[in-house]
């Protein structure tokens, strides 16, 4: 058996540094990552990276920061298993490996000039934040912007500070709901779908972008369709088990589609007839 060092391997990682860690909730931590030499990741909103801890493994993680943020990028990771537990043990200054960005992100060029409705539930805010902040940083390129946010309890809300900023902006319509409220909560209580009827929009020039746990897509899409938004203007980001990020390992396959190459962002018309998608 001969062994050869492989230049240009798709599995090569970029040795990167964690420059900031913040604990968001019991399960979620925020990480800010600097690539070697301060290079920028050069990603589209909605793309993801494969994060490595050598000796533990790799996991696909969405980029949470907007490409307009230079010099570093951000991500939020929920502790669910082997890799994510190990990542949670790391501190500022520790190194991780990065591959990517991978996948098809949100079609920013197409969204320009249109109205946007963001629907984010739970962890869905994490990838969506890359687009929301991009839009806010380039606010004048877009039409009306609405953000609908859902989380389990007020304590579960991620990026509270940023969300507070959004609520204050006049050029963003913001509404929020929680599954379970505490006595201090003044806002809506209930499913995120309950927010949709209240949004006024012009369907033919509106793009809706949805990210959240698998179970919610069907219901949210149904509401949006009721609002006459065309199928191809409804965008979702799907999560699947993923190993290689290169469209080979087979784990992320949704019928004939590969989530890592054809997605994770899909327009509804593309996946409507794909039984395993939603």
């Amino acid at each position: 058996m001969k062994k050869l060092l492989l230049k240009d391997s798709k599995y090569e990682i970029k040795k990167s540094k964690i420059i900031k860690v913040t604990t968001l909730t019991d399960l979620e931590k925020f990480f800010e990552i600097e690539l070697p030499g301060g290079d920028s990741l050069d990603h589209d909103p909605g793309q993801f990276v494969e994060v490595s801890i050598l000796g533990v493994g790799e996991a696909p993680i969405s980029v949470s920061s907007s490409p307009t943020k230079l010099g570093s990028f951000e991500m939020v990771v929920r502790k669910v298993g082997r890799f994510t537990s190990a990542l949670h043990q790391l501190k500022e200054g520790d190194e991780i490996g990065i591959r990517g960005p991978f996948g098809k992100g949100f079609p920013v060029r197409i969204l320009e000039g249109n109205d946007l409705v963001f629907v984010a539930a739970g962890l869905g805010i994490v990838p969506l934040r890359s687009l929301i902040n991009f839009v806010i940083d380039n606010r004048r390129d877009f039409g009306k912007v609405s953000i609908l946010l859902g989380c389990r309890t007020p304590q579960n809300m991620l990026f509270g500070d940023e969300v507070a900023e959004w609520t204050k902006r006049l050029d963003v319509n913001f509404s929020c709901t929680v599954d379970r409220a505490d006595p201090d909560w003044k806002g809506n209580v209930g499913m995120i779908t309950s927010l949709i009827p209240g949004v006024t929009l012009e369907p033919e020039r509106t793009f809706a972008v949805i990210v959240g746990p698998p179970v919610m897509y069907k219901f949210v899409i149904a509401e949006l369709l009721k609002k006459q938004i065309p199928e191809r203007q409804i965008l979702v980001s799907l999560e699947r088990n993923m190993k290689c990020g290169l469209g080979k390992c087979g784990h992320c396959q949704i019928n004939g589609l590969y989530c890592c190459q054809d997605g994770p962002v899909f327009s509804y018309d593309k996946i409507k007839g794909v039984p395993e998608a939603l």
Partner: protein, 255 residues
């Protein structure tokens, strides 16, 4: 990064101690392992007694009497991490066969009219008594897997026992399937991870690593019927190691 070596202790309950012997069988690899950990208690080969608090307890054997229940609880309290080690500990193992009989009957069988003298309770796997952090299945344990688990424990990350069938590994080893020879094999319902050890050596899988989490029991029965293998024989085989699974099922139902 210098770290103090984690303190590891070995404990044994009702078992054949073969799994501990497997540790000694690692050969010089054992010294590499000992480079990573500090063994503070290991009755079989050491006279030293460990400190009150230990980092890792490696527990072998099943829980078969009241004394053992007390002892395992104390060990759990002492240990940050508990590794159930070997079939007896992880799934009850051959000791579980005792549960095939009414407790009093088997005691009478063995002790005659003085059966009350010997205390015995239903055989249980360790996780059926206290919380277990890592499982190393097998009768005896497969050393490469033990090393894997140990490394995961030292890295502080979980280890998941493969949840697919022994057949997967068996096929990769290109064995002629036992069913093609007309013999029933527990491979299709048993968790992989042993590299299909027994079949590689011409024997069948006896199911020592426990069943996959979602076995298609009806499908398996169909297969067995097709091969004309008497059902009671197969149930007998399944019960050889996996009798204590009934306790898990019972607990699930309660919940």
């Amino acid at each position: 990064m210098t770290r103090t070596k984690p303190k590891v202790a070995f404990f044994d309950f009702a078992c054949c101690e073969g799994c501990q012997l497997q540790v000694a069988n690692m050969g010089e690899l054992l010294l590499d392992v000992l480079g990573l950990i500090e063994v503070v208690e290991f009755r079989e080969v050491m006279s030293e007694k460990g400190p009150e608090k230990i980092d890792v307890a490696v527990v072998e054997g099943s829980i078969t009497d009241k004394h053992a229940i007390e002892r395992i609880k104390k060990i759990r309290d002492r240990a940050k991490v508990l590794i159930a080690y070997g079939s007896c500990a992880t799934i009850g193992g051959v000791n579980g066969m005792k549960n095939n009989f009414k407790l009093d009957d088997i005691r009478k069988e063995v002790y005659g009219d003085r059966f009350n003298y010997f205390d015995t309770v239903e055989t249980k796997a360790v996780h059926q008594v206290v919380k277990v952090d890592y499982f190393v299945n097998g009768c005896p344990v497969y050393i490469p897997e033990f090393v894997k688990v140990l490394k995961a424990a030292l890295q502080g990350i979980p280890y998941e026992v493969p949840d697919h069938a022994v057949c997967v590994e068996c096929k990769l080893n290109e064995n002629v399937c036992m069913y093609d020879r007309g013999v029933a094999c527990m491979g299709p319902v048993t968790r992989a991870g042993c590299n299909s050890w027994c079949i590689n050596n011409g024997n069948i899988c006896y199911g020592c690593r426990g069943m996959v989490s979602n076995p298609n029991e009806n499908g398996a029965m169909d297969i067995i019927k097709k091969y004309n293998i008497p059902m009671d024989m197969v149930i007998n085989k399944m019960n050889m190691y996996n009798k204590c699974r009934e306790i898990d099922k019972r607990e699930q139902k309660k919940r």
